[in-house]
């Protein structure tokens, strides 16, 4: 450690020490970057075979895992106490019966539950109709997208024809939402304040997703067109940011050229004195 001479005053010495300590502390290491401890549900079930262990593997690839929603988020219980993790007194719910699945998921996805119950799928609940997990899966829940509407999945219950028509009507809007999201993400990673744009897109995406449970083709088309209009407004704003950035680059090119020209002139002037 260095021992630089310094006349100590109580506060000044402390701060100076702090500088020196910082010099020692300049080497970040990853080891103690806190990783959240595994909850007891995962600790036990990971080691269990087949049906009891499978949910953990599936969950790890889900949107829930990505957003930090663990087992207890849906099934309740105490994730910190292995002995009482599955105690009803600690709020453990277990797996719901089939007819209770929509209400089970709808505790968080309130709007989606409403859309589902109003749809043909929801109206057939308890009469052989699909529940949330039929299309979205139970543990490997992936981010909702139009990919969920596919021939393989839909033809388990009915023909794909109408679903195909609805999907086609929504595809363009879905593509624009994805493109807008990517653009916003790209600007955000460059320090652009995208808060308002993100909120706007979030609202539009939710509005659009509410159509996912709609089977009225005309309504889907009409609503998609309106959402497209709103998305184009957002896209216009993003293009404005893009253009401003283009102008900055032109200004940058001029500044760099000016500096290089100055360097050349100064060099030639120096040569006249050499």
């Amino acid at each position: 450690m260095k021992t630089d001479r310094y006349t100590p005053t109580s506060r000044g010495w402390g701060l100076y020490c702090l500088v020196l300590l910082l010099l020692l502390a300049i080497c970040p290491a990853p080891s103690q970057a806190a990783e959240p401890a595994e909850i007891v549900c995962i600790q036990c079930h990971s080691a269990l075979p087949d049906k009891l262990g499978e949910p953990v593997k599936l969950w790890k690839g889900s949107i829930h895992a990505e957003n930090g929603i663990a087992c207890n988020g849906c099934h309740g219980g105490d994730p910190k106490d292995a002995a009482n993790a599955m105690s009803p007194q600690r709020g453990f719910l277990g797996a719901p019966k089939e007819k209770d699945i929509p209400a089970f998921c709808g505790r968080c996805h309130v709007g989606v539950l409403k859309d589902y119950l109003a749809s043909a799928h929801g109206m057939a609940l308890g009469k052989g109709g699909p529940t949330c997990v039929t299309c979205h899966s139970n543990h490997l829940v992936v981010k909702a997208s139009l990919d969920l509407i596919n021939e393989k999945s839909c033809t388990r219950c009915h023909s794909f024809e109408r679903a195909q028509t609805i999907k086609s009507a929504m595809q363009q809007t879905e593509n624009l939402i994805i493109a807008t999201d990517t653009k916003i993400g790209s600007f955000k990673s460059q320090g652009v304040d995208t808060d308002r744009l993100e909120k706007g897109l979030f609202a539009l995406r939710n509005r659009f997703h509410s159509l996912f449970h709609e089977v009225n083709v005309a309504k889907v088309r009409d609503e998609s067109t309106q959402i497209m209009g709103e998305l184009k407004k957002l896209d216009g704003e993003l293009q404005g940011i893009e253009e401003a950035r283009g102008k900055r680059k032109i200004a940058g090119a001029v500044a760099v050229a000016a500096a290089l020209l100055a360097a050349m002139l100064l060099y030639l002037l120096k040569k006249t004195y050499d």
Binding site: L18, S31, Q190
Partner: protein, 367 residues
């Protein structure tokens, strides 16, 4: 013109300005074989001044409060006229300062300019280098982004590996058990007041030593490349047959600064994100650890060294020894030869050391 001349005369009769200009500009002679590497110091002075100016401009809008810091930086980047440019200049400038400082130190190493009687020049320069690293680290926290928060968390954690007092030191640095508002307050005070003032004072001392001892002669293009300094009494190393600082070398300094500016502006306008990972634009979240936190490029070698050794303390100790060796180099290397090609052991160690540092940096980046 007459007015200017009258003003100059007014000052001259009071301060002896003409004599000062004649002595320090036209009469200040430098070695004939002086090269472009000698202008690194002037570039560094320019960068430091530029950092101070952009830093002051940022201070106008920055709020050193953990609740508001990230928002204030976002405001600077998006709403303040040319705020983005000022911040980019400050961030890119801080990286450039480290880079040019490294070039400056390497040129001093290879030209043997650190040797007697310039031990103090080297030592002050070395301390400035460490302070520049310190000011970069403290500045890293101020935007209060995910990157700031977690980089500071892991950096301050390292101090905890020091036996006995480690944990106390961590708390002392952070102002608490965890990185939080108290850490921001401390780092802010260090970044905007303590370290810059110390750097300014040391730069003044560095320049005073340069002026007092005289500019070293480069060992290139000469028959005698030995250091002929005699330790019996103080002697100023003058260059009576040299070239004047003004206008000759001042023009070289200005040329170098203009070339630097072109390079600097190219990064600022075309790829400033070279120095901004994605996490730099996400507000700090103490409850969400980002997947990969990597330090800035100039700390990557230190970072990788810590990972190589079985214990972090050992890694820190090795770096401490290496830094102490570098700091005391003029007192250890007491040979008279200054030409690098006539110092094979020095060449092997220096080139090997630089390659090792670059290798560790690349390894750290990809690890």
């Amino acid at each position: 013109m007459t007015l200017l001349k009258r003003m100059y005369d007014w000052i001259d009769v009071r301060l002896g300005a003409r004599e000062l200009v004649d002595k320090e500009l036209f009469g200040y002679l430098l070695p004939r074989n002086i090269n472009v590497w000698y202008s690194m110091g002037s570039i560094l002075l320019f960068i430091f001044a530029f950092q101070v100016v952009t830093g002051i401009l940022l201070l106008i809008f920055y709020v050193p409060d953990s609740e508001k810091a990230f928002g204030s930086v976002t405001h600077i980047m998006n709403n303040v006229p040319f705020g983005w440019l000022i911040r980019m200049c400050h961030v890119v400038g801080s990286n450039m300062m480290v880079l040019v400082l490294l070039f400056h130190m390497i040129s001093v190493l290879f030209m043997g300019s650190y040797k007697r009687p310039r031990e103090l020049n080297w030592l002050t320069g070395f301390i400035i280098f460490n302070l520049v690293m310190g000011i970069s680290l403290t500045g890293y926290l101020l935007p209060w982004s995910q990157l700031s928060f977690w980089a500071t968390t892991v950096a301050t954690n390292s101090v905890g590996t020091i036996p006995v007092i480690g944990q106390y030191l961590v708390e002392f640095l952070r102002g608490g058990k965890l990185v939080g508002p108290a850490t921001l307050g401390r780092f802010y005070a260090l970044h905007v007041a303590v370290i810059p003032l110390t750097i300014a004072a040391l730069v003044g001392l560095h320049l005073f030593l340069l002026e007092r001892i005289g500019v070293s002669t480069p060992p290139f293009g000469l028959k005698d490349t030995k250091n002929n300094w005699q330790s019996d009494k103080f002697r100023y190393e003058g260059h009576p047959d040299g070239i004047p600082f003004f206008p000759n070398y001042a023009l070289q300094d200005m040329t170098s600064i203009a070339v630097y500016l072109a390079f600097f502006l190219a990064i600022v306008f075309f790829d400033p994100y070279l120095f901004f990972p994605k996490d730099a634009f996400i507000a700090a979240n103490p409850y969400q650890t980002p997947a990969h936190i990597k330090p800035e490029w100039y700390f990557l070698a230190n970072y990788q060294t810590l990972k190589i050794f079985p214990s972090e303390f050992l890694g820190l100790a090795v770096q401490g020894v290496a830094m102490t060796f570098l700091a005391l180099l003029p007192f250890i290397d007491r040979g008279n030869e200054r030409h690098p090609l006539k110092r094979p052991l020095f060449m092997a160690c220096s080139v090997g050391g630089i390659l090792l540092w670059i290798g560790l940096m690349i390894w750290g980046h990809y690890s």
